[in-house]
C-alpha cells in the first residue's frame, strides 16, 4: 500500500479520537494514582479471573502445549488481548548488538532494543535500564527489568497458570474475527518472571496453523526459562 493511501485511511478513524486529540490539555497524574489505578485494575482482573475459573466457564476452552521435558503449558481462551499500560517516561532506545543479545539470551535468535529511562538532565545523571522489546523469530518479546512496566498488553480475561521447571507461567490465547477473506488469526501469549525480570511473549499466526504458532511460542518459553534470568550485570558492564 502506498503511504498516501494509508494516510487517507487514517483520515477516516473514529471522529471521537479526532475530537479528543484537540480537547483540553494533558493532565499529569501523580505516580501513586497511576500505579494505584493499575494495581486496582489488576486486582479486579485477578478477582474476576478467579471467579470465572472457579465457575468453570473457561475450563473447557483451553489449549495445551506439551514440552519435551514432560511439562505442559495450558493456554486459556480469552476474548481479547487488549489494553495498554502507559510508559510515561523520557526514554532512549538502543538496538542490542549480536554480542549483547547472545549474552542476554543465549542460543536464541533475538533481535531487540534495550530501553533506558533518561536521567533528569543533571550533569552526570545516570540512565536506568527499563527493559527490552523485540522479537525471537516470529515471537514478540517484552521484558521489564524495573518497576516501570514495559508490558504494553494487559492480560484481560482468562488465563491459566502452568509451571515449567518450577516457574509459574500465565498463558492464554484469543482468535480474531474473520476478515473479508474469511481468515482468522490465533494469538497465543504468556507472562512469567525470570528473577527480577517480568517477561511477556506473544505469537500470532493463521488459525489453521495455530498448532505451529503455539508450539513455536512454547519452545521459546521453555528456552527462556532454561536460560534463566538474563545476565543484566554483564550487559550493563559492557558499556550500557
Amino acid at each position: 500500500m502506498k503511504k498516501e493511501a494509508f494516510c487517507e485511511i487514517l483520515g477516516d478513524i473514529d471522529e471521537r479520537y479526532v475530537r479528543e486529540a484537540r480537547a483540553g490539555h494533558r493532565i499529569t497524574k501523580p505516580a501513586w494514582r497511576k500505579w494505584g489505578a493499575v494495581a486496582a485494575c489488576l486486582a479486579a482482573v485477578a478477582v474476576l479471573g478467579t471467579v470465572l475459573l472457579q465457575s468453570g466457564i473457561f475450563s473447557q476452552n483451553t489449549d495445551v502445549a506439551a514440552l519435551d521435558n514432560g511439562d505442559k503449558i495450558v493456554f486459556a481462551k480469552s476474548d481479547t488481548v487488549g489494553g495498554s499500560l502507559s510508559l510515561d517516561a523520557d526514554v532512549t532506545i538502543t538496538p542490542l548488538t549480536e554480542e549483547e543479545a547472545a549474552v542476554l539470551f543465549p542460543a536464541l535468535p533475538v533481535t531487540a532494543d534495550a530501553i533506558f529511562q533518561n536521567g533528569d538532565g543533571d550533569a552526570g545523571a545516570s540512565r536506568e535500564l527499563l527493559g527490552f522489546e523485540g522479537q525471537i523469530g516470529n515471537v514478540k518479546l517484552t521484558i521489564s527489568t524495573s518497576d516501570v512496566q514495559l508490558l504494553d498488553t494487559e492480560l484481560v480475561g482468562a488465563e491459566e497458570t502452568s509451571e515449567i521447571n518450577g516457574t509459574a507461567i500465565t498463558a492464554g490465547y484469543s482468535v480474531t474475527d474473520k476478515n473479508s477473506k474469511g481468515e482468522q488469526n490465533a494469538i497465543y501469549y504468556a507472562s512469567f518472571a525470570l528473577g527480577a525480570c517480568r517477561v511477556y511473549v506473544e505469537n500470532a499466526g493463521a488459525k489453521e496453523n495455530s498448532e505451529a504458532t503455539k508450539e513455536e511460542l512454547a519452545e521459546v518459553i521453555q528456552k527462556l526459562i532454561e536460560n534463566g534470568e538474563p545476565d543484566l550485570p554483564a550487559f550493563l558492564e559492557g558499556g550500557n
Binding site: M1, K2, K3, E4, A5, F6, C7, E8, I9, L10, G11, D12, I13, D14, E15, Y17, V18, R19, E20, A21, R22, H25, R26, T28, G82, G83, S84, L85, S86, L87, D88, A89, D90, V91, T92, I93, K140, D152, T176, N179, S180, E183, N185, I187, A204, A206
Partner: protein, 186 residues
Amino acid sequence: MDDAQIVQLYWDRNEQAISATSGKYGNYCASIARNILDSREDAEECVNDTYMSAWNSMPPHRPSNLAAFLGKITRNLSINRYRYKNAGKRGGGNATVVLDEIAELVSDTDDVEQAVDRRELIRAIDLFLDRLPADQRRIFVCRYWYFDRVSAIASRFGMTENHVSVTLNRLRLKLHHHLTERGFEL
C-alpha cells in the same frame, strides 16, 4: 451559535452558514491546512474550498460532529493539493516528514492496495487506538491526523521533543504489529 444551528443553516441553504462556519472553525481548519501545506496562500484556498465542499455536502449530510467533519474535508483537500504540488518529486516540509513516518508502516508499493478491505482496516486501526492510553492516542492522532509538528506536540503535552519522537516510533511499531498480526498485508 451551536453546531446544530450552523448545520441547520446549511440545510436551509442560508449563506450565513459560511460566515458562521468561518467564525467558529476558520482557525481550526487553517491550522490543519498550514500543517500540511507550506504555502499560506494554498492553505487559505483549501480552507475556502472546505466551506464550498461543506455547502455542497449539507444536505444530504447532517454531521453530528461538525468540527471533525470540516477538519476531515480540510485534511483531504490539503493532502490532495500537497500531492498535486509534489507530483513526481519529493516535496519538503512537515507533510513530507509525516508521510515518511507513515511509509514505515506500509510497503509503499501499489501491489497490495486493492487486496485490503478499507473498512476492515479502519476498524482495526480504531481498535488499536481504543486500546491505547488516552495520552498516547492523542499524540498519535495529533501527528498522523492533524499533521502536528513534533515541537507542537511536545509543547501541548509537556514533553521533550525526543520523548515525543520515541513515543511516535513505538506507536508506529505497535500499529504495524497490530495490523500484520490480524492478517493485513500492507
